[in-house]
């Protein structure tokens, strides 16, 4: 255990000035110190992907990153996806195609898919499946998730989102 050090996390366009131990994971800092509990913890060793967020536009397992490593970087979490009451096309597609049941893995899948499609809007269906295979879902058998992400990809190509 070592002393806490001050740190500012930039999450969804807002600064959070916090003070954490060097060993504190980014996901714990986001959830416990910044109060953004939409990002979930499923395994704490980078396999399940429930904690996936975007750091400077790239999907990241926030359980495998220390909070201090995220200083000065732009963090996006599920809380930042919707525009007021208007859902992001990815969120809407998950609702339309039954891409979620319990909803626990959902924020991770949303951020993973949004991050990849913003970077690579014309990704092939096959490559997209490889990307989605990096996160675990235990409820849906992935059928609804795959349909939703493919549908959202079409929507996002129509109206490209700019990175916040």
């Amino acid at each position: 255990m070592t002393a806490k050090a001050p740190l500012t996390l930039h999450i969804n366009g807002r600064d959070h000035a916090i003070s954490v131990e060097p060993r504190r994971t980014l996901v714990d800092a986001i959830r416990e110190d910044c109060g953004q509990t939409g990002t979930h913890i499923g395994c704490e060793h980078g396999i399940c992907g429930a904690c996936t967020i975007l750091v400077d536009g790239e999907p990241v397992r926030s359980c495998l990153m220390f909070a201090q490593q995220a200083a000065g970087k732009k963090i996006r979490t599920v809380e930042g996806l919707a525009d007021g009451d208007t859902l992001h096309p990815m969120q809407q597609a998950f609702m339309d195609h039954h891409g979620l049941q319990c909803g626990f893995c959902t924020p991770g899948f949303l951020m993973l898919a949004v991050g990849v499609l913003e970077r690579e809007p014309d990704i092939s269906d096959e490559d997209l499946l490889d990307v989605l295979a990096s996160n675990l879902c235990r409820c849906t058998g992935y059928q609804g998730i795959i349909k939703a992400v493919r549908a959202a990809a079409k929507e996002m190509r129509k109206a490209p989102q700019t990175s916040k």
Partner: protein, 755 residues
């Protein structure tokens, strides 16, 4: 009643908060000044405890308290919820290890600290001094000792009917198979969690993070902690997957609640993944030695099955439930004139077990359907043909199986099994592509398996409904959500009964302070039991509304109707009145109680297509199809979701998921890198056909359950498909079928010549 919402795939009412990061899962709940609990767990699979040294842990700054068994000695062991045979009671688990440790992962101490990181640091400093004892790791070898003079064979269950010996004497031939199912479990993505808090003002112990059976857990906690029932209240938030294992009462739940009472502090415990994989219920592990007597055409004359159920180190809340279901539901959709089953319930030095989605059926369906495939091979007819010869006919419904389970007599309420088999084969069973690819040297195969599910376990459910002056409807049920969509389904049923929009119906569940009883969410019971209770409640409210409106509108209730929240004359003439307006002057409430002692029995067919890589032994599931008769589909999209999710778990159990132990009882599957769950790459596109051929005669809407039909026969169908792909009938005798096993099968036998 106009079916405006029932039968339609309307969007889920649950989705918005879950999509926007506004869910309220256990870890999301915190109270000011809360303490964090961490459990220190036994690193020894079997040992006599000499000492648990907590001194170093206590000295860590930020640690408030450390408990061992002596601190919780007044707490009884955790009792049974279902199938609680008296002879199993000595095998119950105490909340912290007493005298002995019996599996790696058993709680030996509880640490309470200001911060979860500190609590975890301290837990690492706890030292167990134990005299190592021999470990028992297989339930089918000779039993060992649970304690002095107490065998690890907790009990033997026996069921049956008919003259089995005569059947075998009369047999044209007899088949014997030795089949095993591996150890795997639900493994929801959200680990377990509990936040307990004592409220001085109301003298109520509150528990958050509740799931599945909040009322049962409340009553049990109250008994264990010596409190009045009303002095403990459970609050269900969002639940990150259930699958049978979450929401049972575990040692950690009791410890957190007891600590909240003792310390007068909010106490929070969130399980980590390693803990989950060694401490939450495992399931499934059985070995069956089954014999069948058949006539010359392959018709079953009798079945005798002896099986060994590995329940791990203790008997938890489910007691004998899983083996009892396996024994009682093994006959499935077939006429079995004589049946005798003997189930040895044994304990081993592994994680204790409970139910996992389709408990006992994933296992016994694998066994029964392997047997049917063996009979087909013996007689020399197609697998589906041999099944057809043995199916229970539609005319025989309702069919009394002459067996009991879960306190109910198994009577199949309705079904046309032959019709579903025919439909499934026509839609999903084409072999042309396979034959073509085989000619090119590919090892592809197809396998089918049939099953009867059970659902709608009673004994009862209670629902209350009210409509406020804004026209909003609140439905309160003691049922629970594990993520399956109960709010949407119950809202659809109420909306159609009442004549309102389903989106105006808010369903409250899992809050013990809102309703005095509730069956919870298990055994695919919610749509059937809560659904019917909700329909009755809505009907009650509707009748009251019409009676009140009739007086105001100077007519009689039978001349009125409700549509889109407005009461009007059926004739279309005269004044109208909204329910909301009526609610301003007249209290609009209703109550529905549904009591039923029998379950309802949906059924289905699974068809798997696999490709085997002969060099590596790797198996790829290329297609998976399910035909399932649901009786009456309330929301087809949600039923398909249930089935697809079940299939994925079934694929996992058939090919990948396995809790492995070394010779010392050390668990080797302790991370998601060792315990392999299917990803989007391993789960193929799933073809689903939902039929409504056999509505249940036991409830008004004809409902049956959807929760377990996707997983039930997946292991059986994949095993058959692998046999077919490698051309060795009966090759697969054990799940999961790892590449190593397939490779061994290929080396042992010879892959059939495809030319």
């Amino acid at each position: 009643m106009t079916a405006k919402f029932i039968g339609r795939s309307v969007p889920r009412l649950e989705d918005r908060p879950l999509l926007t990061g506004r869910g309220r899962f256990a870890a999301d709940i915190s109270f000011p000044g809360q303490w964090h609990m961490r459990i220190a767990r036994s690193p020894v699979a079997h040992g006599k405890i000499r000492n648990v040294d907590v001194s170093k842990a206590k000295a860590v700054p930020g640690v408030y308290a450390v408990w061992t068994f002596a601190d919780v000695a007044e707490l009884p062991p955790i009792g049974f919820r279902l199938t609680g045979l008296v002879e199993l009671e000595p095998y119950r688990q105490f909340v912290l290890a007493r005298e002995r440790v019996r599996y790696v992962g058993e709680p030996i101490a509880a640490i309470f600290a200001s911060d979860p990181y500190i609590a975890e640091d301290a837990a690492d400093l706890i030292e167990l001094d134990a005299e190592h004892l021999p470990v028992t790791l297989s339930a089918s070898e000779d039993p060992g000792f649970f304690e002095d003079n107490r065998s690890t064979e907790a009990t033997v269950i026996r069921k049956g009917y008919g003259d089995v010996d005569a059947a075998f004497k009369a047999a044209n031939s007899v088949l014997s198979l030795d089949l095993s199912i591996g150890r795997h479990s639900g493994v929801p993505l959200e680990t377990r969690g509990v936040i307990a808090r004592y409220d001085d003002k109301s003298d109520i112990l509150e528990m958050y993070g509740a799931a599945k059976v909040p009322h049962w857990n409340r009553d049990t906690l109250a008994r264990m902690l010596g409190r009045k029932t009303g002095g403990v209240q459970l609050f269900e938030g969002h639940v990150g997957g259930g699958f049978g294992i979450r929401g049972e009462l575990y040692p950690e739940d009791v410890l957190a609640c007891y600590a909240a009472l003792k310390f007068r502090k909010a106490v929070k415990w969130i399980e980590d993944r390693r803990e989950h994989l060694i401490a939450a219920n495992h399931s499934r592990q059985q070995r069956h030695q089954i014999r069948a007597a058949i006539d010359v055409e392959g018709r079953i004359l009798g079945i005798e099955d002896t099986f060994f159920h590995d329940n791990g180190a203790y008997m938890r809340t489910h007691a004998a439930t899983v083996p009892d279901l396996a024994a009682a539901m093994l006959p499935g959709p077939y006429r079995v004139p004589a049946y005798r089953v003997t189930g040895h319930i044994r304990l081993t030095n592994k994680t204790p077990c409970g139910t996992y989605r389709a408990p006992g059926r994933y296992e016994s369906t694998f066994v029964r359907e392997r047997l049917m495939d063996a009979i087909a091979a013996k007689i020399g007819v197609a697998p589906l043909e041999i099944r057809r010869r043995n199916l229970i006919a539609r005319q025989a419904m309702p069919y009394d199986l002459k067996l009991d389970t879960l306190g109910t007599r198994i009577i199949y309420d309705s079904g046309d099994y032959a019709k579903l088999v025919e439909t499934a084969e026509r839609k999903f069973g084409a072999r042309d592509e396979i034959m073509q690819r085989r000619k090119k040297g590919e090892h592809v195969g197809i396998g089918s398996a049939l099953f009867v599910e059970k659902s709608g376990l009673g004994p009862s459910d209670l629902v209350r409904i009210s409509l406020d002056a804004a026209g909003e409807i609140e439905v309160v049920t003691g049922s629970a959500s594990v993520g399956q969509g109960i709010e949407t389904v119950v809202a659809q049923i109420c909306a159609d009964t009442l004549g309102v929009d389903y989106a105006r119906v808010r369903v409250i569940h899992g809050q013990t302070d809102r309703i005095e009883q509730g069956g919870g969410a298990y055994a695919s019971r919610v749509t059937v039991m809560t659904g019917e209770a909700a329909r009755r409640a809505a009907e009650d409210l509707r009748n009251k509304a019409l009676t009140a409106a009739a007086a105001l509108m100077q007519t009689t209730a039978d001349k009125l109707q409700i549509a889109e929240g407005t009461i009007s004359a059926k004739s279309g003439a005269g004044p109208t009145m909204t329910l909301a307006a009526l609610a301003k002057t007249y209290p609009l409430t209703g109550e529905g109680f549904f009591e039923y002692k029998h379950m309802v029995y949906p059924y289905g067919v699974h068809i798997a297509q696999v490709r085997v890589d002969a060099r590596t032994g790797g198996v790829t599931v290329e297609k998976f199809s399910v035909a399932y008769d649901i009786g009456r589909a309330v929301n087809p999209m949600l039923i398909e979701g249930q089935i697809a999710g079940g299939v994925a778990q079934g694929v996992g159990g058939a090919l990948f998921e396995d809790f492995v132990y070394d010779a010392n009882g050390e668990p080797l599957s302790v991370t998601f890198a060792d315990y392999l769950m299917p990803t989007a790459r391993e789960v193929p596109e799933i073809g689903i056909l939902i039929t409504e051929d056999a509505p249940s005669p036991l409830n008004a809407l004809g409902l049956k359950g959807a929760g377990e039909g996707g997983v039930n026969a997946a292991g059986a169908a994949i095993a058959a498909a692998i046999d077919d792909a490698i051309g060795i009938p009966g090759a697969v005798t054990e799940l999961p079928v790892s590449p190593k096993r397939v490779k061994a099968l290929i080396l042992d036998g010879t892959i059939a010549d495809r030319d």
